[in-house]
C-alpha cells in the first residue's frame, strides 16, 4: 500500500499547488500577462501567518486574516506592476512582476532575515489511520481548505453575477465596459483574489515546508508549468495540472533523488510543450485581442 500512501501525500501537496496555480491562472485570464511574483506572494502569505501567530491563535482565523491582507497586497501589485503598463506588450508586465518579486524577496530578507521560518500549525498534527494509510490532520486540513476554496471559486465564477462579470472582462475588456462593467476594477479584484489564494497557500505550507525569501521562485515555475500542462488559461485544467505535478514529484522522488525528480519533471513539461502545446484540456475559449 506504499503507493497509496504516496498518492495521498501527493494529493495533499497537489492541493497546495492547486491554490497557487489558481491565483496564477486568474491573472493570466484577466490580463493575458504572467504574474512572475506569484511565488513571492505565497511566501508573503506564509510570513503574514508567522507575524499573526502571536496575535491570533485559531488556525482558521489566521487563514481568513491572511486572505484579507493578501487581497490588498494583490491590489497593490496591480497598481504598481500592471496598470501603468497596460498598453505595453505583455512581456513588459512579465518584467515588472519579476521586479516586484525581487522587491518582495529583498523585503523579506530585510524584515525577517535570510533563514527559513516555520509558520504556525493551523491544524493539530495528530495522525489519523485508515487501515494501512496514515493521514496527518494537517494534510487533511490542507486538502479540505483547498477543496473548499476551489469549490468556492467555481461557484462564484460560474453562478454569480460578479463571477460572470469577471469572466466577461477577461474575454473582451472593451465589450465588458460597453455593458457597464467597470473593467479596471474587475482586473484589480482578480489580482486581489489571485494574491489571496497564493497567500492562503503560503499560510498552509508554512508550518510543514517553511518559508524563506527565495522560496517563491520554484512555486512560480510550478504554477507556470501546471498552467501549460492543463491548457493555457483553462481553470479546471490548471488544478488538474497542479495535482499531476505534485503526484509526479512525490511518486518519482521516492524512487530517485529529489533533484533527479525535478529535472525529470522539467523535461517532461518541455515534452508536453512540443508534443501537445495546447495542454491536456486545450486553451481557454478564444479571447478577443
Amino acid at each position: 500500500m506504499a503507493i497509496l500512501q504516496l498518492i495521498i501525500n501527493g494529493i495533499a501537496l497537489g492541493a497546495l499547488y492547486a491554490l497557487v496555480t489558481l491565483g496564477f491562472v486568474f491573472v493570466i485570464n484577466a490580463t493575458g500577462a504572467v504574474n512572475f511574483a506569484q511565488g513571492e506572494l505565497v511566501m508573503a502569505g506564509g510570513y503574514a501567518a508567522v507575524v499573526l501567530q502571536p496575535v491570533i491563535s485559531a488556525g482558521p482565523l489566521i487563514l481568513v486574516a491572511v486572505a484579507v491582507i493578501m487581497f490588498f497586497v494583490g491590489l497593490a501589485l496591480a497598481l504598481v506592476a500592471y496598470f501603468p503598463l497596460m498598453r505595453r506588450p505583455p512581456a513588459t508586465v512579465f518584467i515588472s512582476t519579476l521586479l516586484c518579486g525581487i522587491f518582495l524577496q529583498s523585503l523579506f530578507v530585510v524584515v525577517f532575515g535570510p533563514e527559513a521560518r516555520a509558520g504556525p500549525p493551523l491544524f493539530s498534527s495528530s495522525l489519523v489511520r485508515f487501515g494501512p494509510i496514515e493521514i496527518s490532520q494537517q494534510s487533511a486540513g490542507i486538502v479540505l481548505v483547498a477543496a473548499i476554496l476551489i469549490l468556492l471559486q467555481f461557484v462564484v465564477f460560474s453562478r454569480t453575477q460578479i463571477g460572470r462579470k469577471l469572466r466577461a472582462t477577461t474575454q473582451d475588456r472593451e465589450m465588458a465596459q460597453a455593458i457597464g462593467i467597470p473593467a479596471l476594477r474587475m482586473i484589480a479584484i482578480t489580482f486581489g483574489i489571485g494574491a489571496s489564494l497564493a497567500g492562503v497557500a503560503g499560510a498552509l505550507l508554512a508550518n510543514q515546508y517553511f518559508v524563506w525569501p527565495t522560496g517563491g521562485i520554484t512555486l512560480t515555475v510550478l504554477a507556470y508549468m501546471a498552467v501549460v500542462i492543463g491548457g493555457w488559461g483553462n481553470i479546471p485544467g490548471a488544478v488538474i495540472g497542479a495535482m499531476l505535478i505534485a503526484l509526479f514529484q512525490v511518486v518519482v522522488a521516492s524512487f530517485v533523488s529529489y533533484t533527479a525528480a525535478t529535472i525529470l519533471l522539467y523535461l517532461m513539461v518541455l515534452w508536453v510543450f512540443i508534443v501537445r502545446p495546447q495542454g491536456l484540456f486545450g486553451e481557454h475559449a478564444p479571447r478577443r485581442a
Binding site: 515588472s96 521586479l99 522587491f103 530578507v109 515555475v221 501549460v228 529535472i263
Partner: protein, 612 residues
Amino acid sequence: MTLHASPFRPSVSAFWARAPLSSLCLAAAFIALAAHALLYASLYDLRFLSLVCIYAIMVLGFQFIFGHVGAVSLAQSTFFGLGGYVTGIVGVEFGLDSAILLPLSVLAAVALASVIAVPVLKLEDHYFSLATLGIGLVVQLVAINWETLTGGLNGFSGIPPFRLLGFPIESRLHVFLFVWVCLIVAILISTRILNSLYGCSFNLVRESPHAAASLGIDVGRMRLAAFLLSAAYGGFAGALMAQVLRVVSPENLDLSLMATCLIMTVVGGSTRPLGAIVGALLIVFLRERFRIAQSYSLIAYTSATLAVLVLAPYGIVGSAERLWTRYVRRSARERANPGAEETDIDDLLEPTTTRPPSGEQALLCVRGVVKQFGGVHALEGVDFDVREGEIVGLIGPNGSGKTTLINVISGLYVADTGTIVFAGQATVDLPAHAVSKLGMARTFQHIDLVDDLSVIDNIAIGAFRPENAMLRAALLTLGSDPCLTKARDRAAALAALLGVTEVAGLRCGELPYGTRRRVEVARALAAEPRLLLLDEPAAGLNEIEQADLARRIKRIAEASVTVLVIEHNLLFLGALASRLICLDRGRIIAAGSPEEVRRDRRVIEAYLGEAA
C-alpha cells in the same frame, strides 16, 4: 521594371536622423574607459571595469533576443554560466590556451541554444519564457548536484588566468585591456549586424511578424539567429568571467544573475549597444557602492528599474536618443505633398508597352475555398482566377469576407477546404513567408510600418533576401553592408515612384496617414512580387490622395506587376481595375468588367439593399 532614379544619398537632415550620435558616444565611452584605466584606476577599479566590460558583453547578446526580436528569454544567465563552467573545467583539467578555451565555451553555449531552440522558439511568448526558464533551472540543478564535475554548490577555483597564444595576461591592467578589446570586438560585430539589412529586418520581425512574413521573411529563423547570437555572446562573457575571477560557481548561472541582466538591459536601453555599456556600468557601480546593505539596495534598484520601465521604456540611452532626435529634427520636419513631387511618375518609368494579359495558365487560381471561424462562415466556396498583367478589383460590402479571402491567399490563414495555385505551385498549406517567396507581396488594412525607422529603411526591408547570404555579407565585407546599400537604392527609386522622396529620411512614426500608406505600398513592391495584394489601400485617404494613389498603382502595374485590390470604394477602383469580382457573404456574386459589375442588380442590392 527599369527606373530612372538617382541612388539614395541621405540629405543632411537625414544624417542627423540616424544614430551616428550613438557611435560617437560609443567611441567616446571606449576612450574614456581606457584612459581612466591607464591613468587613474586602482587595482580595485580595474577589477570593477573588467566586470563592467564582461557584463556589457552579456547584455549585448541579450539585446538580440530581447530587444530586437522582442522575446523574453530567461536563458541568458544559463549561457553565461555554461561558458564559465566549460572554460573552468577544461582550463583546470587541460590547461589550454585561452585562444582555444574561449571559442570552445562559445561553441558549448551555442550548442545548448541550438538544441533547445528547435522546440522552444516555435512557442508563443508566454511558453517561450517558461521554456527558457526551465532549461535554466535544469542546468542549475545539474551544476549544483554533479559535484565531481562542477564542484557542487561551492563551485571550484584555481582556474588558470588568460594565456593568449602563449602570452600570459595576468596583471589587472592587462586583463582589463584584454577584456576591453573583447568588448570592442563584440560591439563591432553587433553594430555591423544591426546596421545591415538583416539587422534592420529584426525591427519588423518584432513589431509585426505578419508584415514580415508577407515580405518573405522567415520569422522563425530570424528568432533562431537572434537566440543563437545571444547564446554566443553570453557564453563568451561567461568564459571571460571565469578567467578573470578564476572561480566559477552556480552563482554564475542562477536567476538572480538573469534578473541582473534584465535590469541592466531595461535600464540601459534594450536596442542600442551603448545601452549595454551604460546599463552594465550603472548597475555594477550601484552594486559595489551599496555592497554593505545589499538587500536594501536591491529594494532600491528594483523600484528604480520599475520606475524606468514605466517612465522611460526605452532605457536611459533610448530615451536620450529620442529626445535628441526630436530636438534636432524639429527643424527638419516636412510634409508630403502628393501633387508636388520632384519627378513625375511617367518620367520615372521607362515607356514600356503595356503587357497584354497572357492567355495561358492564370497566375493565381483559387478553387472552392471555404473558411469557417467557429459558427461564422466567412468564405463559402470561392472560385476565381487572376491572370498575369491584370489589375483585378475585389469588392463587396463590409463583412463579405474580402479580408479573410486575402488572408487565405497570402498564407496567413489556412483554408478549411479548397485549393490555391500561385505561380504554378499549390500554396494552401504553405506558411505566409513561403507564399511570399514565390512572388507575392501585400499591404494590410492596418498599416504596419516600423515607426522608429526612416521611410527608406522601411521600404528597404521589403528587399529582404535569403538570410544566410545577407548575414555573411554583413559580417564579412568591409564598409557598409552591400545588401543594405542596394536595398536603399532600390528603396529610393520606389520612393520616387510613390512620391515620398521628400520625406525619405524621416521617421515613419511622424508621417501623415496618406504618406504611410504609400510607403507601405513601396515596401511591398521592394520585394519584387509578381502579384501584389492591396487590402483597402484607399481607406482613410481623402479624394486627392485616392486619385493620386490610383494613378501611381496603375502605372506601376502596367510596367511590372499583377495587382489584386480589395476595396469597397468603387470610385477608387473605377480608374484602376480592368476587372471586378464582387463578394457577398462569403460567395462571389458577380464578376466581369467594371461597368457590368456596377450595374449588376445583385451587386447593387448587396451594397444598398433591395430597391424599396
